[in-house]
């Protein structure tokens, strides 16, 4: 390695080595659950657990959450690219945090009830939804 640190990519062997090193990057695309968004409003992975615990999937299709195939409310597939939440308020992080915790405070006629999650959990849930592209 001539004293260098890193991967020696020269020669046929080196190319194979490079391929092996990069293989996991290809696999990164296999897990639809992993949110790609860089929003720092919360812990998206914990948000996914909160969504599973509260069973948001009773009413919504939520990619990456097992059993979440509800049809009462809208599918949340591609949620991050929506401009509005429920067609009522602008889809931006602070609003979304309030929405997932207490939707009726933003839209009095909504069927979506206030849910038993705290502020931190609401941020985590919002972080997860922001990653659904």
């Amino acid at each position: 390695m001539n004293g260098r640190r890193g991967i020696d990519c020269r020669g046929a062997q080196g190319k194979v080595r490079l391929l092996l090193v990069c293989l996991p990057l290809l696999l990164a695309g296999c897990d639809g659950a992993a949110p790609a968004g860089g929003q720092n409003i919360g812990d998206a992975e914990n948000g996914r657990r909160v969504i599973a615990r509260v069973e948001c999937g009773v009413c919504h299709v939520i990619p990456g959450v097992s059993g979440a195939r509800g049809t009462v409310g809208p599918s949340l597939q591609g949620f991050a690219s929506r401009n509005f939440i429920a067609g009522v308020v602008v889809n931006e992080p602070a609003v979304l945090v309030q929405w997932v915790r207490d939707a009726p405070s933003l839209a009095p006629h909504t069927a979506m009830p206030a849910l038993p999650i705290d502020e931190t959990e609401a941020r985590d849930v919002a972080a997860y939804l922001q990653g659904l592209r």
């Binding site: 615990r53 069927a111 849910l115």
Partner: protein, 332 residues
Amino acid sequence: MSGPMKAAVFILGAPLLCGGCVGIQSPLDTHGDHAALIAVLSWVMFIGATLISLGVVGVTAYAMFGDRERRARFLDRRLIIGGGILFPTATLTALLIHSLILANRLVAVTADDKPLRIEVIGEQWWWRVHYLDEQGQRAFTTANEVRIPVGQPIEFILTTADVIHSFWIPSLGGKLDMIPGHVNRLRLKADRAGVLRGQCAEYCGGAHALMAFFAVVETPEHFAAWYDGQRTPARQPADPFLIKGRDLFLSSGCGGCHAIRGTAAAGVIGPDLTHIGSRRSIGAGLYPVNAGTLAGWIVDSQHLKPENRMPSFNVFTGEELRALAAYLQSLK
């Protein structure tokens, strides 16, 4: 596969083998004497069968690959009678005696114990639960959940309203069928607190796989408090939003199938909802109880649990639905 590779595969695979050993619905994660006895029998059979299998494979390999002179020893009649007749007979007889003694202990009833009696009726696809008082009268009715105190013997009185179901709380004991026109009795005792899960263990139609329940084992003090709470009628709401929910419940005809003690709703077709807000699940172990799951269930129960007896009621405005769900959730 190299040596280290094999070791790696074994280490990665080992957790899969133990996946069934712990958790809220494992017969090996025991919470009571009955389950412990059954677990011992399971281990005896599992380890014994493993040793016998290894022995048979070893002898077979020897017979195939051993040298000619040594293989000739297998022609010895004593070996065939000993290994082929005497050993299996002795082993299976010992196992039979062990299991008969065990079965006797599982159903043993001592004269002085006073069991708490709980009547459980299997219905497609949920569990109706009546707690009986000391006179044998029904003290109160609940659904899809049994709560029991640590240390007290429990007698489950099991039957069915329709087809054959099977009542099973793996961490507490064996399963017992619920048979039409027949009453079965199952004695159990829990020796430590915890939340356990039970399930219907006999195929009973479409939503069989979604027919589960929770068994909550708690201290006698907690249990007594819960028991007293369950005997009381539902609390009348003071909050206008909850009052609206209650009025919707009554005016929409929910009481045709469901009872809420303390109100005019006295239906007996579906689960009693008097204290639904204090239960761990709706839909027979399917979802936790919160305003969201309750609202979703009311609107879309046929999608969530196909073929269950409750139709989807897509007749409420968003606000009405929330009021109804909030009222049900408030029924602690």
